[in-house]
């Protein structure tokens, strides 16, 4: 998802009897749904995993501004442009809520940014795909934000207080994102034949990458089992993906466009849609840095950070000078 395949650093999920008394008390609090707050004792692996997960989530929000920012200057109307700017600004805000939540665990903002820029930290695979037409902005809001909501709503109940609270804020704002995307798709679907073809083309390109956002099946993963025990992962990747497919297919039907999956069909017995095999080789390739836009995205981020360096330094120098003047005046 926005945080994919988060490594917990553990080899096995230990039984209560194998834990130290501190860990037992910690796990008991989590089992009783008591939130963990930053200054309280927590196992190092819990802290490190959360830093990895929350920073990856934050990086995804920030890098996620790039594919959509690509269309701000070319939005078809002033209204669409204003809406897209508000949406991209929200993504920036979401990144900031999440960086702040991660900082409560003792990692600095600069360290997280440095990890992203050096390629040590990941962000979601989805943002390495290009936005080729205006319809892609519709598809991203509808599908990518739709998938994000699917993942983030359960995280509002996660065990770490600052992360859960950030998720509550984000989820409140996210449904505007999904609706504005679907609204773009609706306009295109009701438009000319060419516009409808654009909507179908965007769905064709974004459907599979959206399903990959949830990550590979984690039924056998020790990291997922550990994260579930810590309640920082609430539902499995496959469960979330199935829910997403079930909710999205009827929405495509309404638009009169079709998923690029010949195996997609309703399974009355299961009460769910069956869908075709996902190309995990493509996913692994994108995760490794070889997607269509990986290098471009990172280069853009690094350039923005470096170009803004003098502004950050100047603002700090100004603040220090003002503080020194105020102090001198107070003495005099």
């Amino acid at each position: 998802m926005y945080a994919q395949m988060v490594d917990t650093g553990v080899k096995t999920v230990r039984a209560v009897a194998e834990m130290s008394p501190e860990e037992q008390a910690f796990q008991a609090r989590i089992d009783a749904d008591i939130k963990i707050e930053p200054k309280e004792w927590m196992p190092d692996a819990y802290r490190r995993t959360l830093i990895r997960q929350i920073s990856q989530h934050a990086h995804s929000e920030i890098v996620g501004m790039l594919p959509e920012g690509n269309w701000i200057t070319r939005a078809p109307t002033l209204k669409r442009k204003a809406i897209l700017m508000a949406k991209v600004q929200d993504e920036g805000g979401h990144g900031l809520y999440l960086y702040s939540a991660a900082e409560t665990l003792g990692v600095s903002r600069d360290q997280m940014v440095a990890d992203l820029h050096a390629g040590r930290a990941k962000y979601s695979s989805i943002f390495n795909y290009p936005t080729l037409t205006w319809a892609d902005i519709g598809a991203i809001g509808w599908l990518v934000d739709g998938a994000a909501i699917m993942n983030q709503i359960p995280l509002c109940r996660c065990s770490f207080g600052p992360y859960a609270r950030a998720m509550v804020r984000i989820c409140k704002e996210e449904s505007f994102h999904q609706r504005q995307g679907y609204d773009i798709m609706l306009s295109l679907a009701r438009g000319t034949g060419e516009q409808k073809a654009m909507a179908q083309d965007a769905l064709n390109r974004w459907w599979w990458p959206s399903l990959m956002m949830f990550g590979p099946s984690d039924a056998e993963s020790v990291h997922s089992a550990q994260s579930a025990a810590w309640k920082i992962k609430i539902l499995s990747n496959d469960e979330l993906r199935q829910r997403f497919v079930d909710q999205t297919v009827p929405q495509a039907d309404y638009l009169g466009i079709t998923m690029p999956d010949p195996d997609l069909k309703w399974n009355a017995e299961r009460g769910h849609y069956d869908f075709g095999a996902i190309d995990w080789a493509e996913f692994q390739n994108v995760i490794k840095g070889n997607g269509p836009c990986n290098r471009h995205r990172l280069r853009t981020r690094v350039k923005a950070w470096e170009d803004g360096g003098w502004v950050r330094d100047a603002a700090m120098a100004h603040a220090e000078k003002q503080a020194a003047r105020a102090a001198a005046k107070a003495v005099a």
Partner: protein, 93 residues
């Protein structure tokens, strides 16, 4: 690297309530902290007033002191009005 200091942000919502902690952000000084808080935490009319406090200036109780601080109140149930049953015939009390 010269990281901007961290500030804790408190917002008074529209409803005339007390300022409430909403999160934190980085800013070089108090004035910029208020401006950034406007952008980060009140994009949807969430507030009518903002407080910013340097995170380093906040003094917090330690999680380990919870018992010493709060346990004594547990035994003082008579501080709640429901501790005193009133006869049914007595009204307006």
């Amino acid at each position: 690297m010269n990281e901007w200091p961290l500030w804790e942000i408190f917002i008074r919502s529209q409803h005339g309530l007390a300022h409430k902690h909403v999160g934190s952000l980085h800013a070089p000084d108090a004035e910029m902290a208020v401006k950034n808080a406007r952008d980060v935490y009140t994009r949807r009319n969430e507030g009518v007033s903002i407080w910013v406090v340097r995170s380093a200036d906040i003094v917090a109780s330690a999680p380990g002191d919870k018992e010493a601080l709060f346990e004594p109140a547990n035994s003082k149930v008579y501080r709640h009005p429901t501790f005193f049953p009133m006869p049914d015939d007595v009204k307006h009390i």
